[in-house]
Symmetry: C2
Subunit: 445 residues, 2 copies
C-alpha cells in the first residue's frame, strides 16, 4: 500500500516502484523480509503508465504482452487484469517517403531484389543471434570483434530502402539509430527476446496482446495487494553502505536497511550517489543511455482504416512517425491508433502534432484529419526515465567495462529490465530481474 | 578565497572549481558580477591534482603544457608558476608483448611494411581531421557517415601490431578503446588539438612542458587571488530555474543566483537534477562517458634509464602500463617515471602494483625493481570524476542527439574542457570553455 512516510528501518529498501521493484518487493516479503519501496514519481509503474483518453484508458508507456512472457501473463492473471489481442487484421502500409504501398505478411513490400536482401539480412542477424548467449554475451565466439562493431556497420552494404526498413525496426525496438548500438549487445538483446522478427511482429510476436485498462493497472493493483509500504514522490539521492548497514536517502527522508535493491534504469541509477563509490560499475553504467521515443495515441470516432481493409500497421522511413499500430480499446468503444517517433526525431521533438496528423492523412485519407483526441508522451522529457523504451549500450562497453549490470556492489543489488537475461527491455524482463535480485538478497540477508 | 559558507545570493553561481570554473569566475568578476564557486571535492583543481612524493610534488592528474596552449601558458606566467621541459632525451622503447626494441623519433619501430602502414594510417587520419571543424563537427562533409563509424572500424584492416600502436595512442589520449569512439567526434577532438601526432608527442607536442610544483598549483594560487568565495566539500545536487532565478542546492546549503555555470564533466553534470528538465541535453549527456586511466608515478633514487641512453618513454601493447614517460622533478632531485594504465585494464584495476614494477624491470633492468616510492591514482574511483582524462562520445550521438554540450538551458550555462572548441580535453580547453561560458552569461545578465 502507498504510505506517506518512510519507516526508519527495514530489512530491504527497494528503489523504484516499476514492475522490477514491485517483483523484488513481493519476493522479498514472501521470504519473510520486511521491505519498503521508495519511488521518485508520484505514481507507481515506472515505464508502465496508463491514462484515460476518450472512452478508453491507454498506455503512455509499455503496453504489450507476447508469447513466452510467462511471468507477465501469470501476473495479469493473478491480479485479474484481462488481456486482449492487438488488432492485426488487414493489410499494412509501407511509406518509403515517395510512395505508400500496401502489403501483407510480416515484411514490408519492396522490390524483389530488395526483399531478398532484407530476408538475407534478417537471416544473417538470426544466425549471429543464435551464437550469443543472452546472459553472458562475452562468452560468444569473437565477442570482442562483435562488440567493436555497430549495427549500422552490419547494414552498411544493404540498399538504401532495405536499410531504411531496418532503421525503423531498430528505432521501434530501441529508440536509437543502428549506429548507436554495439552489435554484440544488440544480438544478446535479440536473443533474450527470441529474435528480431519475434520482437518486430504482432501476431505470434512481442506485440501480440494488450491489457484491459492499460499496463499500469498491473502496478496499481499489485501495490494495493503488496504487504509492504510504498512511498511515492521520494527521489532517492544517496545509498550509503557502512558496517553492514545500507542507508537509502530520499527527498522524503532516509531509511536504514540490511540490503537495497536499485530497480531503476542504469542511466538513472548513475545519478544516485553510491558510497563507497563503485568504480567498475560507474564506468559501465556511464556507457548506457536511454533510447528516445515520443509515443502518440490518436483517438477517432470510427476505425475508418479497418473499413478499408487496413490493419492500421504502418512502417514509414519518413518521419515524424516511424511505426503505427491500431490501438483501439478492448471493447471497440474507442477507436485509436498509436504511433512512435524514434531516435533523432524524438530527441528533436518540439511538441507540434500537425506533421503527425498530416502523416495519418497521407496514409488513411481525409478522415484522419480530425482526431477526437490526441495524447503525446515525450519520454525524453520524463525526468525519472530520461528516455524510453530501454537503456542501450554502444560499442566497446561490454568488453572493456566488463562484468555486468547485474553485479551487486556490497549489499546493494540491481534490478530493472536492463539487467534481465530473458526479455531484456520488456515488462517481462522487469519481472525476471526483480525476482533474481530478490533471490540474491535473500541469500545474503 | 576559500570560505566555509555559501552566500545567500549572487549574480552567478559557478559549479566546479576546476580550471574551467575558475576561469569562468574570474571573467565574471572582471565583468562586475558577484560570483560564488561551489565545489564537490575538499580541494580545488578538479582533474589537476598534485601531491608530494619523495623530494618532489607530482601530478595525479593533468600535467602537461604544449605549444599553442596560450591561455594556459599565460595563466602560469601570471600566477608565477614556472614551467620546464618534459625530459625527452634518449631512445624510446616499444614493447610489443614479445620483444622490447629501442627506437628514436616519434613513431615506434616496426617492420618496414608495418611502419609504412602506420605512416599511411596517420596520414589518412590527418586528412580526415582536416575536414572536420572542431567547433561544429556536424558541418563536416559526410558527417553522419563518419558519426556512424567507430575509430576501430577505421583501423580494422591494419596489421595487428600497427593496430596495437594506434590502440595505445587512443588509450593514452582518451582512456578508451578505439571501438568506443565515434569517428566524427574523434576527428573533431584531434582537430581541436592540432592533430594526432601533436597530441601524441612530447617535444613540439601536447606533452612538451610541465609545471613546477604540479598543475594543481595553478588552481591553488588562482583561488587565493580570486575576488570571489569558493566553497569546497559542497556537492551540488540540484539546479532549479524559476521566474528568472536559479537556485543551486548543495550538501552545504543553497545559493540563489541570476545565472549558473556548470563546469563539471558531462557525465557528472548528468547527476545534477536540473529543474525544469532539459530533455535534449539529457539525451546527449547520457551518451558521454569518461575514459579510464590509472596513473602511476614511480620515484627512484637515480634516473638509471637516462644513464643507459633511454628517455624513459615506452609504448607497450601489453599491459598493465601502456605508456610511460620520464617524470623527474624540475630540479632533478627526485627522479621518477610516470605510466598509464588505460581503458579496459584501468577499469579492471585491482590496486596491485607488482605487475607494473615487473614491466619496469622488463624495460630497464633490475634497478627498476626497488622504487623509492609509488603513487597510484585510479581515476575511475574518484567519485567527482568517475574516470579520466575526458568524457568521450560513442557513434551516433552527435548526429541524432544534436546540438552541442555548449548549448545553454535557460539561465544555466555549461563549461568544462569537454565543451571547448580548441584543445578539448586539455587544461587549455578548460580555460577556453570557462571564458566562453562567462561571456555568454555576461550577455544575458
Amino acid at each position: 500500500m502507498i504510505v506517506p512516510d518512510l519507516p526508519a528501518r527495514v530489512d530491504v529498501a527497494v528503489v523504484g516502484a516499476g514492475l522490477a521493484g514491485l517483483a523484488a518487493a513481493e519476493h522479498l516479503r514472501a521470504a519473510g523480509a520486511s521491505v519498503v519501496v521508495v519511488e521518485a514519481r508520484d505514481r507507481v509503474g515506472g515505464r508502465a503508465w496508463s491514462e484515460a483518453l476518450g472512452r478508453g484508458r491507454f498506455d503512455r508507456g509499455g503496453q504489450w504482452l507476447g508469447p513466452g512472457q510467462d511471468r507477465l501473463a501469470a501476473l495479469a492473471d493473478r491480479l485479474g487484469v484481462a488481456t486482449f489481442a492487438t488488432w492485426s487484421t488487414g493489410q499494412k502500409l509501407l511509406d518509403d517517403g515517395e510512395r505508400v504501398r500496401r502489403y501483407a505478411g510480416d515484411v514490408p513490400t519492396l522490390g524483389p531484389l530488395e526483399l531478398l536482401q532484407l530476408h538475407l539480412a534478417i537471416r544473417r542477424v538470426d544466425r549471429l543471434t543464435a551464437r550469443v548467449p543472452a546472459a553472458d554475451p562475452l562468452a560468444a565466439p569473437r565477442a570482442a570483434a562483435l562488440d567493436a562493431r555497430t549495427v549500422a556497420d552490419l547494414a552498411r552494404h544493404l540498399p538504401r530502402r532495405v536499410r531504411g526498413v531496418l532503421d525503423v525496426a531498430v528505432g521501434a525496438i530501441f529508440g536509437v539509430t543502428p549506429a548507436e548500438l554495439s552489435l554484440l549487445w544488440f544480438l544478446a538483446y535479440l536473443r533474450a527476446g527470441g529474435g528480431l522478427m519475434n520482437l518486430s511482429t504482432i501476431a505470434g510476436g512481442a506485440q501480440e496482446r494488450r491489457f484491459v485498462g492499460g499496463a499500469q493497472t498491473l502496478a496499481e493493483r499489485w501495490v494495493e495487494r503488496l504487504d509492504a509500504p510504498v512511498v511515492t514522490a521520494a527521489p532517492v539521492r544517496r545509498v550509503r553502505q557502512r558496517d553492514g548497514e545500507v542507508v537509502v536517502t530520499s527527498d522524503r527522508g532516509a531509511v536504514a536497511a540490511r540490503a537495497a535493491v536499485i530497480a531503476v534504469p542504469p542511466p538513472l541509477a548513475a545519478t544516485i550517489d553510491l558510497e563507497p563509490a563503485a568504480p567498475a560499475r560507474a564506468q559501465l553504467v556511464q556507457r548506457t543511455a536511454m533510447g528516445a521515443i515520443v509515443k502518440v495515441v490518436v483517438a477517432y470516432e470510427r476505425a475508418f482504416w479497418r473499413e478499408r481493409g487496413l490493419s492500421g500497421e504502418v512502417v514509414s522511413t519518413r518521419g515524424p512517425l516511424s511505426v503505427l499500430f491500431d490501438n483501439t480499446s478492448h471493447d471497440g468503444r474507442q477507436p485509436a491508433l498509436v504511433g512512435f517517433v524514434q531516435a533523432g526525431p524524438a530527441r528533436r521533438w518540439n511538441g507540434d502534432a500537425a506533421p503527425v496528423v498530416a502523416q495519418l492523412v497521407r496514409w488513411f485519407g481525409a478522415e484522419a484529419a480530425a482526431p477526437q483526441d490526441l495524447a503525446i508522451t515525450d519520454w525524453c522529457a520524463e525526468p525519472w526515465s530520461r528516455g524510453c523504451p530501454v537503456a542501450v549500450m554502444p560499442p566497446g562497453a561490454l568488453t572493456t567495462a566488463g562484468t555486468t549490470l547485474r553485479q551487486p556492489v556490497g549489499r546493494v543489488h540491481f534490478a530493472g529490465t536492463e539487467t534481465a537475461t530473458a526479455w531484456t527491455g520488456y515488462l517481462e524482463g522487469a519481472l525476471e530481474s526483480g525476482e533474481r535480485a530478490a533471490r540474491e538478497v535473500v541469500r545474503v540477508l
